[in-house]
Amino acid sequence: MNALLRAEARKVLTTRSTLIIAGFVILYPALSVLPAVLAAQEPTVDRGTILQVLRGGADVLTVAALLLGILAVAGEHRHGTIVPSLLVSPRRGRFLAAKLGSQAALAVVLALAASAVGLITGTAYLATRDVSVDLLSSDVVVTVLAVTLVVTLYAVIGAAVGALAKNQTAAVAGTLIWVFAVENAIPLVVGDPGLKRWLPGGLSDRLLQVAEPVGGLGSAWLALVMFAGVAAVLGGAALVATKTTDVH
């Protein structure tokens, strides 16, 4: 299994599109602070601003994690590399586990790196506004952990979607349509705006706001269980599809 994980790491490090996306999401928190720095009339800031920077980075990270997961698996089908990959690793369950594991590990690295960039640039900016932030305060630490957890689960979901769809273009398009349109449209169509919080995007939003007094810690745990359940169900379906589908 270690060998497969190392091989997956090599794939990540030798794929330019992955490196470009990774570089962008790591630097995004710094870019997101820049408009506030350059604004003629700077917005009101307080120590809660640092959490906004972290969550802003997470919004981009989650989409990136989904896309990277899809590219990692559906990309193998698109480029035909699934054939040599399965020839050296014919036990498909282990192959998929390595895919999901490596994408999860990449997501952890990206989330922590982006959070570090967000914290450094955010605190530096806040310092110029005479606002000090304790980086080890519980709300900051919990938010960083929540960002990391949410991004990791999205990476697993992305890889699972890639394994289920196989067609990279369809998987990317379908996922983006779901994230940016369908999840917002369903509550409107059903006529129940509260439904959004039970969809994957709503569940992950609740997790990212774990440091806020919204709905209490209990609902955050429920959101975590449900969101992890979504990842587990999709991962299970991906495993069945990977093990039973012919590769041409």
Binding site: V83, S85, P90, R91, H248
Partner: protein, 302 residues
């Protein structure tokens, strides 16, 4: 135990049969040509053998095991299936390093394999800039990474120029001389006739012939056929068929009588009082035998 065995192998895609009850074995240390026209089921059979496609029934084993059960698949079998299985943005060396890492093969093998297929100088180049021939070579390098005892090559000459085809023949002979078992598929017998010891010929997913290629050559040398051109081909076909001869009508209207000599054919048409424009013995080549076995001789109606 024979290294490659297909036993009553059947694969259907929906209701369409791709492989039907196919049984054959490949001898150790032999080069075996796996032949058949396009769409005969060669690639499907090889993919079943390599664990990429599940059979509907029957089995395909390597050293007595299904591919996925092999302890070290990449060290046991090297396979080249198609020349498009590469990420175009990845360097050739990186492609092989990924496979070597996954298969727990020392990375030093990467340079050795690249050198063996003549890609040592292109190792740093991205595969997207490779010609089809270079991709075929890179596929071979991947197959050789684990120094396997068995090689499975699916139409490896596809897209190669004549120099590339000659190089591949030489490499196949070298690999065989090293004692490896090689199964190489092709839709042209002439492509592999010089390199293979045995042939397995399939058509329509079913076995039509197998055995030493020398047997086929003997068959070609001992079976006669006669070309007959007449203004009354339909009547001539009726007369010759009535004389228990195997007659086929070429696209240009000539009759080809298999398994007969000119004197037999000449007597039959003379007794029927038919006019003959041309009659001559046909030289049968190995390729003729192959095409007849697979029922793909161009223009024939059988």
């Amino acid at each position: 135990m024979e290294p490659i065995v297909s036993q009553e192998l059947t694969k259907r895609f929906g209701t369409v049969p791709a492989v039907s009850d196919l049984s054959f074995a490949v001898g150790a240390g032999r080069v075996t040509g796996f032949l058949g026209p396009n769409g005969a089921g060669k690639t499907t059979t090889l993919r079943i053998l390599l664990g990429l496609v599940d059979p509907t029934s029957g089995s395909a084993t390597i050293n007595g095991l299904r591919y996925a059960e092999l302890a070290h698949p990449a060290r046991t079998v090297g396979a080249v299936l198609e020349a498009t299985s590469f990420h175009p943005g990845r360097r050739a060396r990186d492609h092989l390093k990924i496979l070597a890492t996954a298969a727990e093969i020392p990375l030093s093998r990467v340079e050795e394999a690249l050198d063996r297929v003549g890609l040592g100088n292109a190792a740093h180049r991205r595969v997207g800039g490779f010609s089809l021939g270079m991709r075929q070579r890179l596929g071979l390098a991947a197959a050789l990474l684990g120094d396997p005892e068995i090689l499975i090559l699916d139409e490896p000459t596809n897209g190669l120029d004549p120099d590339g085809v000659r190089w591949l023949r030489g490499l196949t002979r070298q690999l065989a001389a090293e004692g490896r078992t090689v199964l190489v598929s092709s839709h042209l017998l002439s492509e592999v006739a010089q390199t293979v010891d045995d042939v397995v010929i399939i058509a329509g997913g079913a076995l039509v012939a197998r055995g030493p290629v020398a047997d086929l050559a003997r068959q070609a040398a001992t079976q006669f056929s006669v070309l007959l051109r007449t203004p009354e081909p339909a009547e001539a076909q009726r007369v010759l068929t009535a004389a228990a001869l195997d007659v086929t009508l070429d696209r240009d209207g000539a009759l080809v009588v298999s398994g007969a000599t000119p004197d037999v054919v000449g007597r039959a048409v003379a007794q029927a009082g038919l006019t003959v424009y041309e009659m001559r013995p046909l030289d049968r080549t190995l390729e003729d035998v192959f095409l007849e076995l697979t029922g793909t001789r161009e223009g024939r109606t059988r």
